[in-house]
Symmetry: C2
Subunit: 160 residues, 2 copies
DNA sequence: CTTGAAATCGCAAGCTT
DNA sequence: AAGCTTGCGATTTCAAG
């Protein structure tokens, strides 16, 4: 279903460049990689078709939008059954404060990445949207001091 | 430094649309928002200039790149001093397996989001890059069953 | 902010290897 | 089958009102 794709050096070079700047033109890609622009077009179209490229995302600074504080919330959902966790996931994803949601192994079932205006806002969010809910057994809040993106995502060095 | 920006309804509308699809053309943006395409261009350029828009990122499927397993590693770095954590952060960010890195409050200093080929690869990563390092006092590994992106990031409802 | 025109880009068709 | 070149329509971009 999500099997590893067969990618050559040109594909990987294109992926590396587009992960740095997804708006690089085919002409510039072509110049950098050393092929014709239409070849880049074909390669990118193929990468989209086979699902390697999922889409283009705008990166936005939460602080500039008045959400200067970010935090990670570890949440235990009990009982951990499908009829409870489906609605829980939908509700959390719909919160304007939510940035990302993970379902994890371990004692804490979910990790929620949130962006809020201040600590009072964070307290309100935790109390009103989490601890006050029947299915939420426990919430642990950790503030994010700083966060970093890492290098472009590429196949393991052994390749293919 | 990262003060909240002053955005009007047009800016917010554009941000919402671009977060749904960062490749929406200025022409389509204009039609949707109800202004001229060049106005959209000006607005987006301004949003970039003032730092609200940080860039355009390609979303890629890790599984299709042979990284079918993702995990979160909670890491204690001891002693937690600048001369140790600087190199630690640089080293972790440079790992091809790293997707994101967070510096957090609480007993676990760092959270590392990684994508690996399989559990053996994960074990190798944890042993060779984390627990074997002097400054790493403890590592806790949690697998990611599933993850979700959330809605577009926008200012709090009360805002401007 | 809009209009309008020029430059650039995306994209498909045809050609070559 | 894969890549290159060409050309047209769409888009971006800029100057002027």
């Amino acid at each position: 279903m999500a099997d590893s794709a067969v990618l050559d050096a040109v594909d990987l070079h294109i992926l590396r460049l587009l992960q740095n700047d997804a708006r690089t033109t085919y002409r510039d890609l072509a110049a950098e990689v050393g092929v014709a622009p239409s070849t880049c077009l074909d390669r990118v179209a193929r990468l989209r078709r086979i699902g390697v490229i999922l889409g283009h995302q705008l990166r936005v600074d939460p602080a500039k939008l008045g959400r200067g504080i970010e935090a990670l919330l570890s949440v235990q959902v009990r009982p951990h059954r499908r009829e409870l966790i489906g609605p829980f996931v939908d509700r959390i994803r719909a919160l304007p404060e939510s940035r990302a949601l993970f379902h994890l192994t371990g004692p804490d079932d979910y990790l929620v990445h949130v962006a809020v205006t201040d600590t009072a806002d964070l307290q309100r969010l935790v109390l009103d949207e989490f601890t006050s809910q029947r299915e939420v057994a426990r919430v642990e809040t950790r503030l994010i001091f700083q966060q970093w993106d890492c290098g472009p995502l590429l196949p393991p060095a052994s390749g293919r």
